[in-house]
């Protein structure tokens, strides 16, 4: 593992010189992780801006700010940007930064491919956003895609040329995700330091190993589905057009065969993060480590056989509805195991409530609310009532915002002192947490009521009966949006402000794991020789603390 003499620099940590060498030609997992995280933060604010436009229009009944067509572009682009631009790259960024340090590897297994997986992303999102940007800034063309992020035909095929841009962007994002996943699998399988057995790996690493398999299994299926859309629109095939013997419902089946595992791609790493943070701040090892690993694997398996619960109302046979209903409800079992194990980890622990722990606790509570509304949606006869209402919107925002996004924020607060070598401003962190936790509930909880009262999704105008809760939801939305500027400031402050307190190597009193044995910040090339692992260095598995 010795460093190649020919690439030796004078710089004590061997950083490449110059901006282009350091970032454009980056092969260092820490640099690439940082780029992913910064990219994700930029996309988070862009998608958030679109959400503000949506909530602005929905603040009052009637049309005030924007045209319905533009509203549809906003809902479509908000989803695509947040899913593929904010949540997924944030998790990949965390994986890049942390997995090599957590398993005692010098870098990712395939560093040049790692560079490629990141640098495809800016191109993919330029392609995705170009039609919308041209319309907004120069009034050229018809704007971005407006048929919903699920791209259901025939509606999605009736869009303008933005359809082609969206499809090629999805292709590129898929290639990037698959390459990232391959890299993560190769790193975890081949690069672990001696003594880091599979069943001693941190749960975050386990969750990413399983997520990476999901990505390889389903991103190509999405690529296939959008390729069929492309040929249907531009080359005269009729995969999804009844005129040529195709079936639009088939698109929904193929899409959700990708889409449901995709949902877990966006939550399994969150489970991993929370499973690292809760033991640290409870000062107890994780309760039921093996059960946690097996639960993640079971959820991943079940994700492949539940897809049609997204489409109960298409006119499936009763047998199909029952199968998908029961299979979906089964997911509550491994998920319940995880939630109970987090609670048992805290039981009688010496808990403290620093910002990462606050976000992790909010995750457990609020994600469970999203899980329960998911169970309600799984019940076929009830789903016929809830389908395509704001109840669904409330459900998936509870699992994605207070689930995935909160876990990413918890992870950033947890590992930021390790990355920068400085403690972030804890007071501001706590303010950020409480403002976020309150405003996000003001934003999304009333949407349950709106949905149960019958307000449909994806509409710019609505019956005046829904006016009050929409106003409340919008005010919560603006507050949540503004609060996130504080998050950006805290991260900026922690990476730049030299007057902040120095972080110790272990950072958190109760933290265990290889990453905490490195200095804060860690050397540019860490674990260039494999560490000699003693049980006390490890957080998980059959080890003594």
């Amino acid at each position: 593992m010795a460093h190649d003499a020919s690439t030796h620099h004078d710089d004590h940590d061997h950083k490449p010189h110059g901006f282009v060498n350091r970032w454009l030609y980056a092969t260092n997992h820490k640099d690439i992780g940082t780029m992913y995280l910064v990219f994700s933060l930029v996309m988070f604010f862009l998608g958030g801006l679109m959400a503000m436009v949506i909530r602005g229009e929905l603040m009052f009944p009637g049309l005030q700010l924007i045209e319905p067509e533009f509203f549809n572009q906003m809902t479509t682009m908000h989803a695509l940007v947040m899913i593929f631009g904010a949540v997924m790259p944030a998790f990949v960024g965390l994986a890049n930064w942390m997995i090599p340090m957590m398993v005692g590897a010098p870098d990712m297994a395939l560093p040049r491919m790692n560079n490629w997986s990141f640098w495809i992303m800016p191109f993919a999102f330029t392609t995705l956003l170009l039609p919308l940007a041209l319309k907004v800034f120069f009034d050229i063309g018809g704007g971005g895609p407006a048929g919903g992020w699920t791209l259901y035909p025939p509606l999605s095929l009736q869009g303008g040329d933005s359809v082609a841009f969206t499809i090629f962007a999805v292709h590129m994002m898929g290639i990037s995700s698959i390459m990232g996943a391959i890299n993560i699998i190769a790193t975890i399988l081949n690069m672990r330091a001696p003594g880091m057995d599979l069943l001693k790996m941190p749960v975050f690493v386990w969750s990413w190993l399983i997520t990476a398999f999901l990505l390889i299994a389903v991103m190509p299926v999405l690529a296939g589905a959008v390729t069929m859309l492309l040929t249907d629109k531009f080359f005269g095939t009729t995969f999804f057009s009844a005129t040529g013997g195709g079936d639009p419902v088939m698109f929904q089946h193929i899409f959700w065969f990708f889409g449901h595992p995709e949902v877990y791609i966006m939550i399994l790493p969150a489970f991993g993060i929370v499973s690292e943070i809760i033991p640290t701040f409870s000062r107890k090892p994780l309760f039921g480590y093996k059960a946690m690993v097996y639960a993640i694997a079971s959820i991943a398996f079940l994700s492949f056989i539940v897809w049609a619960h997204h489409m109960f109302t298409v006119g499936m046979p009763l047998g199909g509805e029952l199968f998908f209903m029961y299979a979906t409800m089964l997911i509550a079992v491994p998920t319940g195991i995880k939630v109970f194990n987090w609670v048992f980890t805290m039981w009688k622990g010496s808990m403290t409530f620093e910002t990462p722990m606050l976000f992790a606790l909010a995750f457990v509570i609020l994600f469970s609310i999203g899980g329960f509304s998911g169970l309600m949606l799984a019940i076929v006869p009830a789903d016929f009532q809830y389908h395509d209402t704001y109840f669904v919107v409330a459900h998936f925002h509870y699992v994605l915002v207070t689930g995935a996004i909160f876990s990413v924020m918890a992870a950033v607060y947890y590992w930021l002192p390790k990355w920068t070598g400085r403690m972030y401003n804890e007071r501001l962190g706590k303010i950020h947490f409480w403002a976020s936790a309150i405003s996000v509930n003001v934003l999304f909880f009333p949407q349950h009521f709106l949905g149960l009262a019958g307000m449909p999704r994806r509409i710019p105008d609505y019956n005046v009966a829904f006016a009050d809760w929409n106003l409340v939801s919008s005010l919560g939305g603006f507050a949540f949006g503004l609060t996130q500027l504080l998050f950006a400031y805290i991260v900026w402050d922690c990476s730049r402000n030299k007057s902040l307190a120095k972080a110790t190597d272990q950072v958190w009193e109760g933290a265990h794991g290889l990453e905490w044995t490195l200095s804060s910040p860690p050397p540019y090339h860490s674990f260039t020789t494999p560490p000699v692992i003693t049980d006390s260095m490890l957080a998980h598995g059959n080890v003594a603390h």
Binding site: L110, Q158, G159, G160, I182, D247
Partner: protein, 191 residues
């Protein structure tokens, strides 16, 4: 990182994963033919199913049962046509042949070819419905401004489940797939 053994192992994972990716991509496309097979073998549905001529009706018209058949039409936004049924609904008895006339009009400036797609609700009525004449069997070409009257003749058999008393026939006219040529005939839907 110059351990040749490690590089080989990494390359093996890479090859294996790329093969899995290719297989998953192929699987996505394989779902297209597999979909029809699965619908038929597992659930006994053929998405394009209609009854064969041979079904039931040996006992003649069922006098003590009346069915309401409603008609719903729509046109793809890519086709500047109209489609109207002469009646919004008809009352028929099982095994009694019925005829309804539909009129299609091309309001556009070009000669265009369309094809109507038929669906019936509730879906379980599909196998009890037999159509002896329908404009949906063939492509229809209409010149600019041209109108065509088209009869639909159908029979609903006496095996129709007892709880079905009301059926909806839906016809959707779509352009016959000539996607690139279509763009000059109509304004883009985004505008």
């Amino acid at each position: 990182m110059t351990n040749p053994n490690l590089q080989q192992r990494n390359a093996r994972v890479l090859r294996w994963a790329l093969a899995a990716t290719a297989a998953a991509f192929a699987f996505g496309f394989a779902l297209a033919p597999f979909y029809d097979v699965l619908c038929e073998k597992v659930f006994g549905i053929r998405p394009t199913q209609t009854a064969s001529e041979a079904t039931a009706c040996a006992g003649g018209v069922v006098q003590d049962r009346e069915l309401l058949v409603e008609f719903d039409t729509s046109i793809s936004p890519e086709l500047p046509w109209r489609l109207d049924a002469a009646k919004k609904s008809v009352k028929v008895r099982p095994c009694e042949p019925a005829t309804v006339t539909f009129t299609a009009t091309n309001d556009g400036r070009l000669t265009l070819t369309g094809r109507a797609i038929f669906t019936v609700a509730p879906a379980e009525a599909a196998i009890h419905l037999s159509k002896t004449e329908c404009f949906c069997f063939t492509e229809q070409e209409l010149e600019a401004g041209q109108s065509r009257e088209m009869p639909v003749r159908f029979v609903i058999d006496d095996q129709l489940p007892a709880d079905v008393s009301r059926l909806t026939f839906r016809y959707v006219f779509n352009p016959v797939a000539k996607p690139l040529a279509m763009t000059s005939a109509v304004s883009p839907p985004n505008s």
